[in-house]
């Protein structure tokens, strides 16, 4: 297969799924004629028409609620939030409704929907267009949560999400859309399994989404000075593959968690706790967390850059962890 972008991989996943399953519809602000703010759904309205690709008003609560209702009654909606930051307007529909309906109704009614959104820093979007809010969703029982870092995962995770019976929050990263790669059909992992992207014996680096790439870059640099990182890409946060994490940490004895979301009560906290719980006797050092700073994201590019982990900081933190 030829090189495609992360964006294209997502689009192909949507297209193929929609061809197979006529109950799938897409809805969101400017997903149709505009082609999506980040171009994921570009051109799809030509193939699938206005009945299946629905441009919506700017009504986050209403459109997520509409997606929930259509999922309850037989469709499989994919709703795109232009920025994950806007989920705050739809939080009730996501976390009080979609996540709890199966449970509250005693298992009678399913909500097979996918809520796509993109998050993260990198475009000077400032405080309301740059957040990483996956911890909120991870803290909400009833939601599944995929957060792909690679072209292959963008494709396979989205295709799989579109087969599930529960609401899936599908989080993309605004800086990954132009990432290029091949869809690797041979070694695709199953949903809920973490990927060990790099073998290493000195420490385990656990991460996901855009930080995977920074971690891999840092690992290369670390290898040059003789430190071998084992890099794990979680791929999904629910299910969370603690087994893969902990069998690695048991081997390496050291763990560094890297996330873009802000540190306090973030995903890095859960990962740190899970590692400590799963590998306590094996830990030579405390599990370290290199996460986003506990600040709103500033617009200034120089400050924005310093608000989240960089390759250099992963590198230097790993050196500290190895006491080198």
């Amino acid at each position: 297969m030829s090189q495609i972008t992360y964006r294209e991989a997502l689009r192909i996943a949507l297209q193929e799924s929609m061809r197979e399953d006529s109950t799938i519809i897409l809805m969101g602000e400017d997903v149709g004629h505009y082609g999506g703010a980040y171009g994921v759904t570009k051109g799809m309205i030509e193939e699938f028409g206005e009945k299946r690709i629905l441009d919506t008003p700017i009504s986050e609560e209403g459109i997520v609620g509409t997606a929930v209702g259509s999922a309850m009654t037989g469709l499989r909606p994919v709703v795109e939030l232009m920025y994950v930051d806007f989920v705050m307007l739809a939080m009730d529909q996501l976390a009080n409704q979609a996540a709890k309906i199966r449970y509250m109704f005693g298992g009678q009614i399913s909500v097979p929907m996918v809520m796509r959104a993109q998050g993260g820093t990198g475009r000077s979007g400032a405080a309301q267009h740059s957040q990483s809010l996956e911890a909120w969703m991870m803290h909400t029982p009833g939601l599944l949560l995929a957060i792909p870092a690679t072209v292959t995962d963008a494709y396979f995770l989205l295709k799989h999400a579109l087969k599930l019976s529960d609401p899936v929050v599908f989080l993309e990263h605004k800086m990954l859309y132009t990432l290029k790669g091949e869809i690797n059909t041979s070694d695709s992992l199953s949903w809920g399994q973490a990927a060990v992207l790099r073998q290493g014996s000195d420490f385990t680096l656990v991460t996901y989404s855009r930080m995977v790439h920074r971690a891999l870059d840092a690992a290369e640099k670390l290898a040059e000075i003789g430190i071998q990182a084992e890099v794990i890409d979680l791929r999904t946060l629910y299910p969370l593959d603690t087994e893969t994490i902990n069998s690695s940490v048991k081997k390496t004895g050291r763990a560094l968690v890297v996330t873009e979301d802000c540190l306090t009560a973030g995903v890095s906290a859960e990962l740190s706790a899970r590692i400590m719980e799963g590998s306590f006797e094996f830990l030579e050092e405390p599990v370290l967390r290199l996460a986003g700073e506990d600040i709103p994201i500033p617009v200034s590019p120089s400050m924005e850059k310093e608000a989240v982990p960089s390759v250099d900081r992963i590198f230097s933190t790993a050196k500290l962890l190895l006491r080198k």
């Binding site: 009504s59 609620g65 209702g69 309850m72 199966r102 399913s110």
Partner: protein
Amino acid sequence: MDTKTQTMIRMYTQMLRIRTFEERVGELFLKGGTAGSMLHLSIGEESAAVGVGEVMNSGDGFTTHHRGHGIFLARGADPKRMMAEIGGKEDGYCRGKGGSMHIADNDLGHLGANAIVGGGISHVVGAGLTYQYLGKEQVAVAFFGDGAMQQGGLYESMNLAALWKLPVMFVCINNEYGMGTRLDRASASLEFAKRAETFGLNGLEVDGLDVCRVLQDAQELMDGVRNGTPAFLKVDCYRFHGHARKDKSHYREEEEEHKGREKDPIAHLENQLVKNKLVTTEELERIKSQIDNEMDEAMEYALNSSEPETMQRFQDVYAPESPEPLPVDERILQALNDPLS
């Protein structure tokens, strides 16, 4: 008996079933048989449930609010299983997970009571979208209180329904209060039907005293709904009792309550039936005692139903294809046994 009389008697029976059911819920609460006290009785509002319910077809979807027992009964609910759910019992519609505020039944089109004011409204927009997309003849109806008129999500929903010409009806049951706040202290303007029209819907307002008028207006709007013009109906009534079981309504005058309770759709219809000799007193007595029996049985059923197994709390968080949440105790054991595992 002509069809009209049949309809009137059916509606009378349904309204009385609802009222009796609600009274039994009150009793069940006093007997300690309910799961908590967050129980909102729809006494006084029966005409909204029955008048609108009457123009719905089997297969039509609907959502309700926290005061939705009556609506579900009007749409065919089994009072036994409702009562059991209100008790948080195994035999309830949601197997004791939802309770009064979250009763649902997929088979009867009940897409759920909702404990978030306004929370279920957009779900009918989604249901309407499904029906339209799949080319089904069904419609979807959202029932909610006057309090939800102040929730922004309602207007997003109205606009979406009108924009996409979905088979959706919005029914506001105006019982004059949102908890302790009278509607005129919550809403600057009371022109709700006109407001709905500015969102592109057909809108009507009807006095809930007369279920036949509710039926008539609901039918008029429903004809439009089935032809692509979503609609809004406000039914004016009065909340006879407190907001929830423990509320004594100290914030309203007795005189007002007294007057409000005169707005009784059941008494009104009974009067009409009797005055016009459409029903005999014997027939009325027969209906009443049948209903009493039915609802007594429902209460008994609830009291006798067993508590769910506590381990069931981990079920239905996800479909079986996904892992069940790991109990905290198991996590702790794993953490402590880690070197062995």
